[in-house]
Every structure is written in structure tokens, then in C-alpha cells.
Amino acid sequence: MSDLAALVVQQSLNGVYLGCLYVMVALGLTLIYGVLNQINFAHADFVTVGAFTAFFAATRFATKVLGLPDAAGYLLSIIAATGMGAVLGLAINAAVFAPLRERGDELRPLIATIGVSVLLENAQLALFGPIPYQFDSPFARETIRIGRVFFSAQSLLVVLISAASIGALYAFLRFTFLGKALRAVAQDRETAGLMGINQGLLIGLTIVIASALAGMAGALLGPVLVLSPFAGASVIVKAFAIVIIGGFGNMQGTIIAGILVGIIEAFTVQYLGSGLIDLVVFVLLLAMLVVRPTGLIAERKEENV
């Protein structure tokens, strides 16, 4: 394998790993938008809470209280974070989305989620302090080598878990009754309501699933991020970029866009420098908005006059 080829493959692998992480975050956003036409600005803070939950579950609870080995502790923490995400989803649905849903105002729920985001961030600041925590996954120390390329066991774990989650989500949406009902609500809420589908329940379910994904993403992202209450901020902007580039409410688009952004990040580091990552991603975002606002995989969306 030539040097350049090895380099390209290696950075692409790095990019896919990062991309999977971003997809996990962005997927929840796109799900909520698909079914509710709403952006949850607090989504990234759910990710941060998930990361903290995982951190404390892994380092304090699993190993010290339950006496589990590190690896099992980490896996357990992922489950804990997912659960915490679901709880947050329930809470925000009950407090913000459900009460405001009837009034049909586009902006108020968005602003309310901004409020929740600020609230969560500062609550975490008060609880955990601004000092970053060092979240080390035991899998990060294990390196797997294939020929001239390498990746850590952690990245393999992330890719596997993401793929499994996405696969499970797809199966759910396609093959189960609930899933089909969800897609109906996403396509046309009023008609779905007329067909006897309980919108409120389904929307709530979507938000819970999306937030659970956010929590899981937090657990997976923990070792990669500087874990502080501000960790969400660095992720949310990329997540928004991915959702727009992939197309709001469009799952395939989001997945492709997410992996793409991850790979762009890896190659930007290679040729330009890590400081320029956000800049490159955002210029791309604005370019997309100008050229193809509906996203990579266009979905027809009509605006009601």
C-alpha cells in the first residue's frame, strides 16, 4: 500500500469514527424535526448530560459500588446514559412541547428549548463545576491493527453501536405498527390524527427515542470530548450543520451528512489544521443553504401560505 493510500484510508477511518458520533447526535435532532417540525436546542445539552451520567456511572458506580471490571462498567454506563436521555426527553416533552403544541406557533417552542438549554448548561455548571473531567474508556487503550492502518477498540465499539442503533431504528420504523404510525404522523399530522392515531403519544415517543439517542451519543462521545458542561456547545453547531446538509427530517440524509462531516474534519486536520474545522463545516453549511436548502437528498416540503 502506498504511503498516500495508507494515509487516505487511515484518515477516512478516523473520519468515519467521528462521523458516527456526530450521526448519533444529529439523528435525534432530525427525528424530532421530522415529526414535530421543531428544533430542540437543548438536544446538545442532553448529550452532555448523557456524557456526565456515563462518566459517573462508569467511574463511581459500576467499578466502585458494583465492582465490575472497567469494560463492563463502560458498557453499563452507555445504558445508563441512554436511560437518562429518555428521561430528559419525557421531561422536555411534558414541560415544553406538549403544552405549546396546540398553539401552532413556530418560534415559541424553539425559544423555550433555548431556555431549557441555558438552564441545563448552568445546572450542570453548578453541579459539576467548570473543571473538565477526564473520561477514559477502557476500550480506547486497545489498538487494533490491520496492515498499515489502525483504530482503537473504542472506535470499533462506537461504529458497531451506532450501526446497531440505526439498524434497530430503521426496523422499528419500517416493520412495527408503532413505527409506521410514527411515519404517518411525520408525513401529515392532521390526516394521521383523523385516522385515529394518537398524535400526542407518538410525538412524545419520538422525543423520548431521540433524546435517548442523544444520551447514548453522550456516553460514546465522552472519551472524545473535553467533558465539561460546555461540551454540548461544541457539538451542537456541527449537529445542526449535519441536519441541514442532510435535509431536515431526513434520516438517510443525516447519516450521510454526518459521516461526511466526520471525514471532512479528519482531512481538514490533515491538510489545514484543527482550528479550521468549524470554519470549513460552517462555510459548507452556508453554501448548502444557498445552493440546496432542502439538503443533500431533497425532500419535497411545501410551505403553507
Partner: protein, 381 residues
């Protein structure tokens, strides 16, 4: 009777005012340190050193009590500015110890100098701090040039390095160190393959490590960043088989950034790391041994003091020495400092030059991390 009671009252007031005047014999020391943020380990260790010194001096110096107030400057210029302003307004210190991070130190220097309050810096490396003409700023820490020049000598002379990749955080400290290494290294015929900087929000260095691996044969990797990032960086470099700790050939080298304990956190990736230290707990000088003993007695026998603990401890010792020589406010402390000659502290013998910089590097030496993660001292040259 009335006269007697008036007299008694008068005496009481006289005594009371005498006592309050006596209580006014206080030297107020402000401490601007990162208690939050990525540099928070500085703040924690500084406080340990300061508290130990204060405890030893609690009966006062020359009739004066040393009063300390801590403010969180978070290793960042904006927070440091606000912290110092708050301090100046409410606490009115005679001298401020601050900060650790160069960017923050530079930001507060003009404010303190304007207010004619002495600034005693114990941890910043940037040249600008003492090259900008601040009359009230003093530093007991070697600056970037003092640290990087020997680094280059060791890189070329001992490690026989031809190529280097510089890794540094995007701050004054990181940039100054990088420049301080690059110029002499290239002047002596070395080649800098890449100068890679990163912000404090980067935590995954796999892509950067991959980039370095693609640059060809790298001999040394001068690294200038805070501990948290250096741990991740070292591990990524090992994973990419660049450094000796991972089976590669390159050696990471660094100036005084990392406290003792870094090697344990980074694990085998830290093997072969060569760096400068300004405090060695095994040094035989009495002041060092006394400090180590007292530190262990107060904080636990298994705790080893770091250079950060030592510097903060030294700062209080120096202030105490100034007070002992008759100083009790900003102007007199400043005068006393400028006259210091070979005042012995744990990190060396302090003589401030005209710019307020100490030039004693007698205690500075190199260490190399061994496979068992302990340090082996190398010669200064």
C-alpha cells in the same frame, strides 16, 4: 467618679485603637489562579503550596500578618481581568500572585501596573511579560527563551535530532515556546517538518497523530500544552506508533508544563519523554527537604509535591522575606524585590534583573521518563 469613668473610657478607647492599629499591620496578598477550567490543577496545587507557607508563617513576619484572598482567573484573559478588577476594588491587595497562564498574566499586567500593585508571577513563560516594560511585574519562572534554548541543545546535542514536529496549544505560552524552539533549532541546521497548533477544545488527537505519521521520519516532538491534552496526545502518538512508548522512534520533549503525575496518567505512552523540571523533590538542599517533609506532613505521606506547589510556596517565602526586610506595602515590596540577591527558595536562588525576571537556572535540569514511569535525571548540557 465621673472623672474616673471618663479616664477609664479614654484608656479603653486608647487601648482599643492601639489594638486595631496593631491589627492593621497586615500585608494583603491577592492570588489570581485558575480554580476552574482546563488549568484548574494549577489553582489546586498553588493553593496547597500557599496554604503550607501561610501555616508556617502564621505568627506573622516582622509584626505583620499575611492575609491572602483567592480569586478564580480560570487561565483565561477575560476572567483574569475581571478577577483582578474585583480584587483591586474590594480587597485592595499590596501584591498579587498571578497568573499561571501566559495569556491571563499578560492581561492583568497593565491593570496591576496602572494600579501600582506588585505582580509576582510564578508560572508564565511568555517573553512579553517582562519585555513590555512593566515596572511592577516580577517573575520567578524561566521565560520561553530560557527554557527553549536548552531544549534545542539537548535535541541536537544529546538526542541527535534532525527533524522535529512542534505541537502546541494556541496561546501565548504555546506560541512563544514553539517560536523559542523553532528559531534556534533551524539556525543549528535542524528541520521543522510541521508546526501543529490546536485549541483547548481538542480532545481527540488521532487525526493529528495520523498527520504526523504521514510526515516521514520525525526525531523529536516538542510539545507545549496543558496536562489533560498532553495525556491524550501522548496516547494518540503511541497508538500511531510514532513515539518510543508506542514502538516508534520519536521522542517527545517539553519545557516546564507538566507536573509530576503526568507520566502515571499517560501510561506507557510517556516513556522516553524528556523534559525540563525546575523542582526535584529528591534534591539535597535543606530548604527543599524541609519543604517536602512539611508538605507530606500536611497533605499525606504518599503525596509528592510538584513544581507548581513549590513555586507557590516560594512566592509566599519571597513576600515574607521582603516584609522581613521592612516592606509592608506595594512600593516597599517592589523596592525590596528589586534588591534581592540570591534569596534561596525551593526552586533556586532568586535575583531579579532590571526587567523583573529571575535568571537563576541552577535548579533547572532535564529528566527522562523511564519504562517504569520514574524520572532519570540527565545533565543540564
Amino acid at each position: 467618679m465621673k472623672f474616673a469613668s471618663k479616664l477609664a473610657l479614654g484608656c479603653a478607647i486608647a487601648v482599643a485603637s492601639f489594638v486595631s492599629v496593631a491589627q492593621d499591620r497586615v500585608v494583603r496578598i491577592g492570588v489570581a489562579m485558575p480554580i476552574s477550567g482546563p488549568g484548574s490543577y494549577f489553582g489546586v496545587m498553588d493553593k496547597e503550596g500557599i496554604e503550607l507557607a501561610l501555616e508556617q508563617l502564621k505568627s506573622g513576619v516582622n509584626g505583620y500578618k499575611l492575609q491572602v484572598q483567592y480569586e478564580d482567573s480560570a487561565c483565561s484573559p477575560l476572567q483574569a481581568t475581571n478577577a483582578v478588577k474585583r480584587m483591586l476594588d474590594q480587597f485592595k491587595p499590596h501584591i498579587v500572585i498571578g497568573e499561571e497562564c501566559s495569556d491571563a498574566s499578560l492581561a492583568i499586567a497593565p491593570i496591576l501596573n496602572d494600579a501600582k500593585v506588585v505582580q509576582l508571577n510564578v508560572g508564565s513563560v511568555t517573553m512579553k511579560l517582562t519585555e513590555s516594560g512593566y515596572k511592577y511585574t516580577f517573575r520567578i519562572f524561566p521565560n520561553a527563551e530560557q527554557q527553549s534554548a536548552p531544549l534545542v541543545k539537548v535535541a541536537r546535542g544529546v538526542l541527535k535530532a534532525q527533524t522535529a514536529v512542534i505541537l502546541h496549544e494556541k496561546t501565548n505560552a504555546g506560541n512563544d515556546n514553539a517560536e523559542g524552539f523553532k528559531k534556534p533549532f533551524e539556525a543549528q541546521g535542524g528541520k521543522v517538518l510541521a508546526d501543529i497548533d490546536f485549541g483547548r477544545d481538542v480532545n481527540d488527537f488521532t487525526a493529528i497523530a495520523t498527520r504526523i505519521a504521514s510526515l516521514g521520519k520525525v526525531d523529536v516532538l516538542p510539545t507545549f500544552a496543558l496536562e489533560g491534552q498532553q495525556v491524550r496526545l501522548a496516547q494518540a502518538l503511541a497508538q500511531a506508533k510514532i513515539v518510543k512508548g508506542g514502538g516508534g522512534n520519536a521522542v517527545q520533549i517539553g519545557s516546564i508544563w507538566l507536573p509530576y503525575g503526568f507520566d502515571q496518567k499517560a501510561g506507557e505512552a510517556a516513556q522516553g519523554y524528556v523534559r525540563i523540571v525546575q523542582f526535584d523533590p529528591s534534591e539535597k538542599r535543606k530548604v527543599v527537604q524541609d519543604f517536602v517533609k512539611a508538605f507530606k506532613a500536611k497533605y499525606g505521606q504518599d503525596k509528592v509535591p510538584t513544581h507548581i506547589n513549590a513555586h507557590a510556596y516560594d512566592a509566599i517565602l519571597l513576600i515574607a522575606e521582603a516584609v522581613r526586610r521592612g516592606a509592608h506595602d506595594s512600593e516597599s515590596i517592589r523596592d525590596a524585590f528589586s534588591k534581592f540577591k540570591d534569596v534561596e527558595v525551593t526552586t533556586g536562588r532568586i535575583t531579579f534583573d532590571a526587567k523583573g525576571q529571575t535568571s537563576d537556572l541552577s535548579v533547572v535540569h532535564f529528566v527522562q521518563t523511564q519504562p517504569d514511569l520514574s524520572w532519570k535525571a540527565l545533565s543540564w548540557q
